[in-house]
Point group: C2
Chain length 223, copies 2
């Protein structure tokens, strides 16, 4: 029988391998927005349903997601536990030790947003003081599943046509799915060009939620 230490390492390695596939990481990102059916997740990631199902089952075996049946569909959601902090450790390791990651980040993301993002803590402070204008640029269905309290929802593809809904005299805080979600970067770039004062929230909604901040699942902050 293998030693206890080797057994432990085998377990760790098994978990690391589950994270060792881009499709699964992408699935985790979508699942961490809220519950989703297999079909929806397959659509979002561009995978076949059977393939998505198999990847989701691997994630479930690894304890990263949970599932429940609702009628004829099976809904997957992020499991409890320190999953996002594991992923954020992986992220900060990658950003520091892999030149490619840094390059992609600066080429595609920071080029669109040279300003520092605002921290979750700062946003929480502003929310408490009632001075925050928060913009959620994710699609309506994701917004409905949960968002920062009082946030205004204008999906990225409709932003250009709905600029009138945003104030010009106060700083807007935009966010979307996560640290590498392009939507909020694009939103910031577009709004700045239009003369708005706007900054991104560091990370995205899952991290906001995981940090224990308040959430709202009711309909959008629109009349």
């Amino acid at each position: 029988m293998a030693s206890a230490k080797i057994q432990i390492f085998e377990q760790f390695a098994e978990l690391a391998r589950v994270l060792g596939h881009a499709h699964r990481l992408e699935l985790i990102e979508y699942v961490s927005q809220g519950e989703r059916s297999v079909e929806r997740l397959a659509q979002l990631t561009g995978l076949s349903v059977a393939n998505a199902s198999q990847h989701l089952q691997q994630l479930r075996r690894g304890g990263f997601v949970q599932s429940r049946r609702d009628g004829k569909r099976v809904l997957y959601r992020l499991a409890d536990g320190p999953i996002l902090s594991l992923l954020s450790a992986l992220r900060s390791y990658a950003e520091r030790n892999r030149a490619e990651v840094g390059k992609i980040v600066s080429d595609y993301f920071h080029r669109l947003d040279e300003l520092e993002p605002i921290s979750r803590k700062e946003l929480a402070r502003r929310l408490k003081a009632g001075t925050a204008v928060v913009l959620d640029v994710r699609p309506e269905d994701e917004f409905a599943l949960g968002h920062v309290p009082g946030a205004l929802n204008i999906p990225m593809d409709k932003l250009k046509r709905r600029l009138a809904e945003l104030p010009k005299d106060r700083e807007i805080v935009a966010y979307c799915r996560g640290a590498y979600c392009v939507l909020s970067f694009e939103a910031v770039a577009l709004l700045r060009k239009q003369g708005f004062l706007v900054r991104r929230l560091e990370d995205g909604l899952p991290e906001w939620k995981a940090a224990g901040h308040a959430m709202e699942t009711s309909p959008p902050g629109q009349p």
Copy 2:
């Protein structure tokens, strides 16, 4: 061309895959004790030299270890950066979400040591106050490469014959390679049976070092 987000996920996945093999995790554990030649690491892990070399190269590509040539041998060492915190995120995730890990830990480790380990902070405090008696149970060569200042080195296999060197009236703090290194657990079990007051240090030497605590590389704390 794949989207920036997918490229990022590919990078993350690649890193996770490097951690996705028990042999590589074991190699990291040994390498994090100090510089080691390929041959030595192969011995320690029971791998063939060629195989160990290949795993080490994967770890190097992933940025987890670095190497330098010294005469005819190549020495590998742990790279800088948040590697241990990534591994500790993996560890705490595994302990929480995987029943098997919890079971192995309690079966093989905690059975030997039902007392809470002492924290690094507490040990640092005692060292400063000069009230600590620290016991390093790793082999001499690992001890020579670096240890907690003032620590006494009695390798596990010689502990039984050298009990006389330890005080009976003060609490001894034992440590070894890492959180799952059996040596310190066995040391604690043995010493308790002999009537010594003894507790383990949480984690092991690499974590102590990574947390920025003082190290000593000079010869053992023995005459």
